[in-house]
Amino acid sequence: MAAETAEAPGAPFVAGQDAVLRVENLSKHFRQRKRFGRPSPVVRAVDDVSFDLARGETLGLVGESGCGKTTLSRMILRLIEPTSGKVFLDGEDVTRLEGRHLRTFRQKVQVVFQDPYASLDPRQKVGASVGEPLTNSGLSRERKLEIVHETLERMGLQRGQARLFPHQFSGGQRQRIGIARALSVTPQVLLLDEPVSALDVSIQAQVLKLLRDLREEYGLSYILISHDLSVVRHVSDRVMVMYLGRIVEIASKHDLYTAPRHPYTASLLSAAPVPDPDVERVRERIQLAGDPPNPVNPPPGCAFHQRCFHASALAEKLPDDEVEVLADGRRVPGACARLQPALAPGAAGTRWSACHFPLENEETAAITA
C-alpha cells in the first residue's frame, strides 16, 4: 500500500559543510519468512530517514523498542545493506564501499554495544580484544601493543590488566574496555547503542563523564541510542525521536526537552518520572495507551494517531465531517488518520517535526514543568 504523504519539504540537515556524517533517505525493509500461500510480509524497520551529524556533535536517538534504532545504526556501520538511500562520511558516499575501502571506512566509524559482557569474547584477553580493530592497520606489533596500553590507561585501567579476561572485570570496567576497543583506531564517529543501560548509576556516571572527556580529547562525534531520557539529555547536543521507523522530531536538546512539538515526544517526556516529589505532584501525565503498532502493517496516515492525545483533544473542537472515528471509538482529525505527515521545519528552520498539528509552547508547559 502506497501511503499518501504530505509534500516533503527537504530534509533536516543543519551541519552543512561541517557534517562528518550525512544520511539521505535511508530505508531498510526486512522481508519476513514466507508464510504458506501468502505473500511474505515486509517490515519497514527504517523508512526514509535523513539527518546529519556535525563534527564534535552528540546526537541522541530515542524511541520505543522496535522503532528501528539499531537497524539504522547497523546500516550506518555498513553491517547490513540499506534497501535504499545513502550514507556519506566526510562528504564521500560510503554506501557501496567494498574490500580495502570498506576496511578503511570501518576504522573511522566504530560502535559500543549495550552489553559489555556479550560484546567481548570471554576467551580472549582484553588486550587482544582492544587491539582487534587494529588488525589491518599495517602497524607494527610493538606500536599496536603501545596503542592498546595507552588506550586502556586513558580509560582508567592499568596496562597490566591487558592480560586479564573479561570476567575478571566489573560491569563498568568491561564497558570501558568496550570503549577502549572502539577508540584504539581513533575513529571519527562513535555509535553508542545503550552504552550505560546495564550499569548502576554510580558507575554509569563514571562512564558518561569519560565519554564526555573523550569527545573533546579525540574530536569525536557521537550518535547515542538510549531509552533513558535523562542520559540523552545529559550528553546530547541534538536529539532525534523515532516512531515506527521514521523520524518524528529532531531538534536541539533544549528545544526538544523544554518545548516538544510532536505529541509523541511530549508523551515520552511525560512518561519519564523526575526524582523530585514536589515536581511530580504538579506535573501533568499523559497516558500513552497500548504498544506501538505492528511495523508489518503500519496504520494509514500518521503512524501515531491511534495513541495520540493531541489528536483526540483536537477532534473535540472539529465538526463531524472533519473527524474520523477509530475502531475503539476514539475520534481524531481526518488528516491524522489519512495523510502521513512529512517531517517539516518550524518557523526558525532549526527544529523539525512530523505532525499535522505541532504542539505550541503553552500546550507543553505542564508536561515539561
Binding site: E64, S65, S170, G172, D200, V201, S202, I203, Q204, A205, Q206, L208, K209, H227, D228, L229, S230, V231, R233, H234, K253, H254, Y257, S267, L268, L269, S270, A271, A272, P273, V274, P275, D276, P277, D278, V279, E280, R285, Q287, L288, A289, G290, D291, T368, A369
Partner: protein, 339 residues
C-alpha cells in the same frame, strides 16, 4: 529503630533481620540488621545499587533464599504473627496469598510451553482448591484487572505471542491472582520502555488503591520513587542507610550515600552541568569495609577515624526527621539550613 508514621496499619514488620549465605569462599551477610515496615495502602520504595541486598531482604521474608542461605537473627511478622520461623508448608501458604511477589527478571520466568491462563490458573489451584474452570475464570478476571485487552481471548495465548509490556502484566497478574495484602514488585519495569514503564507503574499504583494493598517497589530509579512511593529505604552493602518519607530523603537527605546517588544521576527535567560519579565500586560482601560500609567512597568522611571503626546505627536527628546511619549526619542538616 523504625520510621514513625501514623498512616496505615503495619502488615509486614521486618526487624533487625540478618541473613547469612554460606558460600565456598566464606559466609556472607547480604542482609544485615534490616528493619522495614509495610503499611496497608502505602507504597514503600527500596533503592540502592546492584548487590546492596534489596532482593535478598524480601527473598528472606518469603523463605526463598538460595542454597546455603538462612535467617540468622531478627524477626519478621505478618499481621503480628512471627513468620521467620514458620515451617516450609506454612510459608508456601503465605506466599502469594498473603505476600505476593513479582520477581526480578520475571519475564524470563514465564514458561514458554504453557498458556498464560494455565500459568495463572496454577497459582490459583495450588492455593484455593479451585476447579480447572474456576481457576480459568479467575485467570481471565485477573488479566482484566491488570489491564490486558481482550482477556477472554488472550488467556489462551502463549507468552511469545505477547509484547514485553503485556508479559509483564501477566507476571503482575500471577502476583495478584490471590489478592495478597502485601505485593513486592522487584524491579518491575527495568527492561521496559519508558512508556511501558509508566503504564506498569500506573497499574501497580492503581491495584494498590483498588485492593488496598501494601506495595513494595524495589527499584534503582529515583524518579519512580518520587512519583509513586510515600516511604523509601536506601540500602548499601546489606544495610538500610537512610529511611523516611520520600520528601525527606530526596529533598533533604541526611546521608552522604543518598546525596552521592542524587549527584551522580542525570535528570530528565533539567540540564545537570556536571555529574559527580561516586568513586570506586560497591562493596564486596566477602570483604565489607569495617565501620561504615560506605567510608571508602564517601566524600564527607574527611579522614575521620570513627567512620572506619564504628558501624553507624540508624537514628533520627530530630523527632520529625528521617532515619539515617551516618556518624556525621548533623553536618548535612546544618549545610541545608545555610544554603
Amino acid at each position: 529503630m523504625t520510621v514513625k508514621s501514623d498512616e496505615g496499619d503495619v502488615l509486614l514488620d521486618i526487624r533487625s533481620l540478618r541473613t547469612r549465605i554460606e558460600t565456598l569462599r566464606g559466609v556472607v551477610h547480604p542482609v544485615n540488621d534490616v528493619s522495614l515496615q509495610c503499611r496497608a495502602g502505602r507504597t514503600l520504595a527500596v533503592v540502592g545499587e546492584s548487590g546492596s541486598g534489596k532482593s535478598m531482604t524480601f527473598l528472606s521474608v518469603l523463605g526463598l533464599l538460595p542454597a546455603g542461605g538462612s535467617i540468622e537473627s531478627g524477626s519478621v511478622t505478618y499481621l503480628g504473627r512471627e513468620i521467620s520461623t514458620a515451617s516450609p508448608k506454612e510459608m508456601r501458604r503465605l506466599r502469594g496469598k498473603s505476600i505476593g511477589m513479582i520477581f526480578q527478571d520475571s519475564l524470563a520466568g514465564l514458561n514458554p510451553s504453557f498458556t498464560v491462563g494455565e500459568q495463572i490458573g496454577d497459582v490459583v489451584r495450588h492455593h484455593e482448591n479451585a476447579s480447572r474452570s474456576q481457576a480459568r475464570e479467575r485467570a481471565i478476571e485477573t488479566l482484566g484487572l491488570v489491564g490486558l485487552p481482550n482477556p477472554r481471548e488472550r488467556v489462551d495465548y502463549y507468552p511469545h505471542q505477547l509484547s514485553g509490556g503485556m508479559r509483564q502484566r501477566v507476571m503482575i497478574a500471577m502476583g495478584v491472582a490471590l489478592r495478597p495484602r502485601v505485593l513486592v514488585a522487584d524491579e518491575p519495569t527495568t527492561a521496559l520502555d519508558v512508556t511501558v514503564q509508566a503504564q506498569i507503574m500506573e497499574l501497580l499504583d492503581g491495584l494498590r488503591r483498588e485492593l488496598g494493598m501494601s506495595l513494595v517497589v524495589i527499584t534503582h530509579d529515583l524518579g519512580v520513587v518520587a512519583r509513586y512511593a510515600e516511604d523509601v529505604a536506601v540500602m548499601y552493602g546489606g544495610r538500610v542507610v537512610e529511611h523516611g518519607s520520600v520528601r525527606q530523603v530526596l529533598k533533604s537527605t541526611n546521608h552522604p550515600y543518598t546525596e552521592a546517588l542524587l549527584r551522580s544521576s542525570p535528570r530528565p527535567d533539567a540540564s545537570v552541568a556536571e555529574l559527580d560519579p561516586i568513586p570506586g565500586q560497591p562493596p564486596n560482601l566477602l570483604a565489607v569495609p569495617p565501620g561504615c560500609g560506605f567510608h571508602p567512597r564517601c566524600h564527607r568522611r574527611d579522614g575521620r577515624e570513627d567512620c572506619t571503626v564504628q558501624i553507624p546505627q540508624l537514628r533520627a536527628l530530630s523527632p520529625t526527621s528521617q532515619l539515617t546511619a551516618c556518624h556525621h549526619a548533623e553536618e548535612m542538616v546544618m549545610q541545608e539550613v545555610s544554603t
